[in-house]
């Protein structure tokens, strides 16, 4: 008997035949990544959960339009990106009154509260586009061509956003990490 890992493409093929359980399997593989991507963009757990549900519903409704099953990840994150920015456009007038960092102020387990605060503050100083580039590259690990697919813009633009964001953050964050402190002690 030969065991083979079930690929996303296998699940997508089953979903296209009307298998809802296969889609639930696909959701369980991707929901945490999508939720955290949206959480880092919106900084709001409730919004992120609602948006995640909308993202997967749209993915289910449009899965027949996905040309290449191997590109499911970027395609799913493209939907998530559209949903998030659609929400931003709806809420733009009240953006000034919101506290975008409220959800991330709790210290991360295992990290010092001051470092958590520094990281959140640094992220919140970025524009939404810069922050999204950082989230997709640093937290989600997408390649530049996948990010280009997700964001619908050229790789050069994405690199510019990412590297500008890192330049802005490194002066603040690099000395704050334990490694930097150790280097400082040395």
């Amino acid at each position: 008997m030969i065991f083979r890992a079930v690929e996303d493409a296998d699940l997508i093929a089953r979903v296209r035949k009307g298998d809802v359980e296969a889609f639930n399997h696909l959701v369980s593989r991707w929901e945490k990544r999508v939720y955290n991507y949206l959480l880092r963009l919106t900084s709001n757990p409730e919004d992120s959960l609602d948006l995640s549900q909308d993202v997967f519903l749209k993915a289910y409704q449009n899965i027949r339009k996905l040309d290449d099953a191997a590109r499911f990840g970027p395609w799913l994150f493209r939907i998530a990106h559209n949903e998030a920015f659609s929400l931003f456009r709806k809420r733009k007038p009240e953006a000034d009154t919101d506290d975008p960092a409220s959800a991330e102020r709790e210290p991360a387990p295992g990290a010092s509260p001051e470092l958590t605060l520094s990281v959140n503050a640094a992220l919140n100083r970025l524009t939404p586009e810069q922050r999204e580039a950082v989230v997709l590259k640093v937290y989600q690990g997408f390649k530049f061509d996948e990010m280009s697919e997700i964001l619908g813009c050229p790789v050069s633009t994405i690199k510019s956003r990412l590297y500008t964001a890192l330049d802005l953050m490194k002066t603040e964050l690099a000395p704050a990490t334990p490694q930097a402190r150790q280097r400082g002690i040395r």
Binding site: E21, K32, Y35, N36, V119, K137, L166
Partner: protein, 206 residues
């Protein structure tokens, strides 16, 4: 920030976006360029700091339930299967168009031609005169033919009447002749008889 002209390649290297050859080249460069080595160090520290924020667990699992009411019918699945997709519809319409074009090319109906002719006023007048003359000649010919026919019929009727009258006269004359011949016969026979006999007969009669 490094002032080295390979700053962008260095960042691509930090995010593992360089091809194998470029990667080896960058590794050689890093052993020689202290600016780039420091920049790489700082980039790695920054990303490491960012990764301190861990992923959160989703507070509520997302799951979809299959409901027969909302499931597409077999017909809807067939229509969604791709056979009636926009590409197929486009192909089908193009094929129908091609067949229609071929049909019209080989079965062209008789052309209806509209010819517009231009003519001068003199031409028009001449044509009108000719048409009028033709119409008048036709009318005269028709009237003459009708007159000739009427005259012929009248003559035939008169001849017939004359013949009948002639026959009637002949018959009357024949009858008169017969009467006269009878009377003549009577007188002749009387003339051959004796006068006394006549007188006696007359006297006996009185």
């Amino acid at each position: 920030m490094t002032t080295c002209d390979r700053a962008e390649a260095l960042r691509d290297y930090a995010f593992d976006e360089l091809a194998a050859g470029e990667r080896r080249e960058m590794e050689r460069h890093l052993t020689a360029c202290t600016d780039c080595a420091a920049e790489l160090d700082q980039l790695r520290l920054t990303t490491a700091a960012l990764r301190i924020l861990p992923d959160r667990e989703i507070p509520q699992r997302i799951a979809f339930v299959s409901d027969k009411i909302f499931e597409p019918s077999p017909a809807a699945r067939f229509f969604r299967s791709g056979f009636f997709s926009s590409a197929w519809a486009g192909f089908a319409s193009a094929a129908i168009m091609a067949v229609a074009l071929l049909f019209t090319a080989f079965h062209r109906p008789a052309e209806i031609r509209t010819v517009v002719q231009t003519a001068s006023a003199a031409d028009v007048n001449r044509r009108i005169d000719a048409a009028v003359a033709t119409a008048v000649a036709d009318a005269v010919r028709q009237v003459r033919a009708e007159d000739a026919k009427t005259a012929k019929e009248t003559l035939a009727a008169a001849e017939l009447r004359y013949e009948r009258e002639h026959r009637f006269l002949l018959a009357s004359m024949e009858q008169n002749m017969e009467v006269l011949q009878k009377r003549l016969g009577t007188f002749t026979s009387l003339a051959s008889l004796d006068v006394p006999q006549i007188a006696s007969q007359n006297g006996a009669g009185q």
